[in-house]
Amino acid sequence: MSRLIAAELLKLRTTRVVPGLLVASVALSVLMAALIVLLSSTSDIGGGTGGRLVLSSGGIVAGILALLLGIVTTAGEYRHGTILPTLLTNPDRLRVTVAQIVANTLAGAVLGLASVVGTAAVSFPLLASRDVAVALSAAQVTGIFVGGVCFAALSGTLGAAFGGLIRNQVVAVSAALLVLFVVEPLVTSLVDGYQRYSLTGLRVAISGGAAESAGAASGGLPPAWLAALLWTGYALALAVAAAAVGRRRDI
């Protein structure tokens, strides 16, 4: 199994997709954090909610890009035909699915770590330049950063499982974006408490963001550990579906 995972990691390292997304993730995270700090009033960003909004931006951006990375790489196996030599070398489709998921989880963690570091490196000096002290304890700040890395890693997990299930890159990416940015906000506005189970709500909970970011503050969000567990459950359900369907599929 370890050499299969190493091969999947080598696949990720030998195209420009991962370096490109890494640069994009850090740049967008830094830009988002800087814009929030510079364009918000000091009273807004000085509170706990504002502080969470600034410091969680790295994890959230990295998570969304890690989700896309997972989809693009696993569905891309079918698009480019690399699934053929992959399965000829390792015909156990379940093991291949697991290796792809593990590799994308690790890649997501790297994206998350780089983006969180970038966010921290920009946010604290900018906040200090505006004489804003973040109203969060050291433990809360650490929780936001650790949550950001975990969220990006788990997004890689979910993306890889989803891409393996759908197999068509364009359809899978479009469906993911549609769910995240159209379906979930709509359902959240219609169903009380839905954000406790939605991908958006779990994303905010894991990455330590403010509950308002999930679209509905009332009803709150689950604790980060429970949100991570739920997110992992969603990813595992997709992975099991991908593996089950994949066993009987013609390649």
């Binding site: 050499r3 299969l4 190493a6 091969a7 080598l10 696949k11 030998t14 195209t15 420009r16 997709v17 891309g76 480019h80 035909g81 690399t82 053929l84 030599p85 992959t86 399965l87 000829l88 070398t89 390792n90 015909p91 156990d92 009987r248 599929r249 013609d250 390649i251």
Partner: protein
């Protein structure tokens, strides 16, 4: 007969279309077997089923007595060149081989050996999107050879190769046979196949319509493999 590939009553349907219809044959060890048939005769579907990529509707395909998926180290048993894209265009030829060498547990030095063997050593650092069809075919062959397999399955391997490449491939296949290895080669270029194969399997509409040594099938004076092939597929079309 010591058969390395055995296909037994294999049937594959895609919806209402029967691609392979109760096909049975065996490929003897240490031979080059031509797998012939018109377009849509079921050749590729059969090869993909042998390789575990297509799930049969009925029957079975075995490699050295096991289904492909049950082979413990498949890359060391069987290598395949399929008539389909199998490269990420943004990955270099060398990196493509490194990925699958790692997956197969093959040393990195084997990658360089194979790049030289197929004549891609100078182009190995270029991304595959810039490769010609012939170069991609050579890279496919190098991928198939990573585990130094005992059996090769080649689906239209001469596609895109120039005359030198075709000559090289022909000599390479003969060398493999002389080493006691087995090759199952599908092709529609009958003149090429006739020069190198020991025996042929002829498929038409998913069924086996002839099997035998080339000299047996072309026993009549001045009759070529092409004549036999056209006769067989014409008769069964009626």
């Amino acid at each position: 007969m010591d058969a390395v590939i055995e296909v037994d009553s294999l049937t594959k349907r895609f919806g209402r279309t029967v691609a392979v219809d109760g096909l049975s044959f065996a490929v003897p060890r240490g031979s080059i077997v031509g797998f012939l048939g018109p377009n849509g005769s079921g050749k590729t579907t059969t090869l993909r089923t042998v390789l575990g990529l297509t799930v049969p509707t009925a029957g079975r395909a075995m490699v050295e007595g096991r289904p492909y998926a049950a082979l413990p180290e498949p890359a060391r048993v069987i290598g395949a060149v399929l008539d389909a894209a199998q490269f990420h265009p943004g990955r270099t030829g060398r990196d493509h081989l490194r990925v699958f060498a790692k997956a197969a547990g093959v040393s990195r030095s084997r990658v360089d050996v194979l790049l030289r063997l197929v004549g891609l050593d100078e182009a190995a650092g270029r991304r595959v999107r810039g490769y010609s069809l012939g170069m991609r075919q050579r890279l496919s062959l190098a991928t198939a050879l990573l585990g130094d397999p005992r059996i090769l399955i080649l689906d239209e391997p001469a596609n895109g190769l120039d005359p030198q490449g075709i000559r090289w491939l022909r000599d390479f296949l003969r060398d493999r046979r002389d080493e006691g290895r087995t090759v199952l080669v599908s092709s529609h270029v009958l003149s090429e196949v006739a020069q190198v194969v020991d025996e042929v399997l002829v498929l038409h509409r998913g069924r086996l319509v002839a099997q035998g040594r080339v000299e047996e099938l072309t026993a009549h004076p001045r009759q070529t493999l092409e004549d036999v092939f056209l006769d067989l597929t014409r008769e069964t079309s009626r």
